[in-house]
Amino acid sequence: MRRIYISALLFIATALLTQWLVIKYVPYLVHAIAAHRVPQRNQWINNDKTDARMRRVVLPNPDFKYSALFYDVSEHDITITGTLPDSSYASVAFYNNRCQPYYVYNNLSPNRKGHFEFLISKNAVTGTKQLRPETNTGVIICRYLVKNDSSFNIIKTYQQQLACTVK
């Protein structure tokens, strides 16, 4: 009888621990898989038109052109620069290694400027627009709304202005 009680307790404890671990660590795993598929670090990747062939990330928005940068600031700081258009929605979103956004910058607020520059560094630096990442690795995603076919090439020029400098 004692053996059954111990087994039951062991069963419940292991099951609860397993489900907690799965829920806690799946986002890390998803990020690790995404990062593994994209070998470039600290480099912008500009996606072309979003259509049914885009099957890397679920629920892609076909009205957007996306640019992504998988960053790693474990050894070096990075500075990202770019310009967001005034006429249509665009944003830069910073995600940690749990795929959670921790900062979003967009062009909709009246006090925002089109040009942006962020220093991403673990260490405190004065005099620069600095973003201290929650984790050493993560993703930055730029979203540009493509209003119509004629604005497609204009957005492409904005994508090409994105830059990342490793310090």
């Binding site: 099951a15 799965v22 806690k24 076909p62 929605y89 749990r98």
Partner: protein, 198 residues
């Protein structure tokens, strides 16, 4: 389960089988909890649509995992709100074998940019020859009062035609970017587009 339990009790290798079964059960519980995204306290129903207007930058572990798996790299609610539709107004699952309309008025959706996109059950865009996946307030054809009707069908239709795949279930996402604050606070009373089976 009863058979497995009996096997466990009979087996001399109880110390291997019990933890193994427990791990499998743990995975099952986790999958069950993750899949119940619509049971989240933050989840609300807004007519044909459902979702949360309260997706914050730092969520608890369960919500983080749900968002990671079902809407990877989503934006927080202060930036964008995602509402989902899986069924028509009679609560029947959306199916590409049937035709539907989405009817609404662009003036009733108070957001700087919004769109309605169709996705397959795999959460990817539905391939189609017209390369049409969504409608937004810029490309939607409306009457002079701003009323619109989108036809979702596996056969071409006049006007705003959103292709879906025959015999395959699908879902819709209504995205709202930079929404009016009052509109978001009273989203339950907003006249959001209605999905009707033809």
């Amino acid at each position: 389960m009863a058979i497995l339990l009996s096997l466990c009790l009979m087996s001399r290798k109880l110390w291997i089988i019990v933890p193994l079964l427990a791990v499998i059960t743990g995975f099952g519980i986790a999958a069950w909890r993750i899949a119940r995204i619509d049971k989240s306290p933050a989840y609300r129903v807004y007519g044909s649509w459902r979702g949360t207007t309260n997706l914050a930058l730092n969520q608890d572990d369960l919500v983080t995992t749900q968002v990671t798996l079902f809407a990877l790299f989503a934006l927080p609610s202060q930036e964008a709100v995602y509402l989902f539709a899986y069924a028509d107004e009679k609560n029947k699952r959306l199916n590409g074998g049937r035709s539907y309309t989405i009817e609404g008025n662009i003036h009733n959706i108070k957001a700087e940019y919004w769109s309605i996109t169709a996705y397959g059950r795999d959460l990817y865009l539905i391939p189609n020859q017209a390369n049409r996946y969504s409608f937004n307030r810029e490309n939607l054809k409306t009457d002079s009062l701003g009323n619109f009707k989108i036809v979702m069908s596996n056969k071409p239709a006049d006007g705003n035609w959103l292709p879906v795949q025959k015999g395959k279930k699908f879902e819709l996402v209504l995205r709202l970017y930079d929404s009016d604050k009052d509109f978001m606070e009273h989203l339950d009373k907003a006249a959001l587009p209605v999905i009707k089976r033809i």
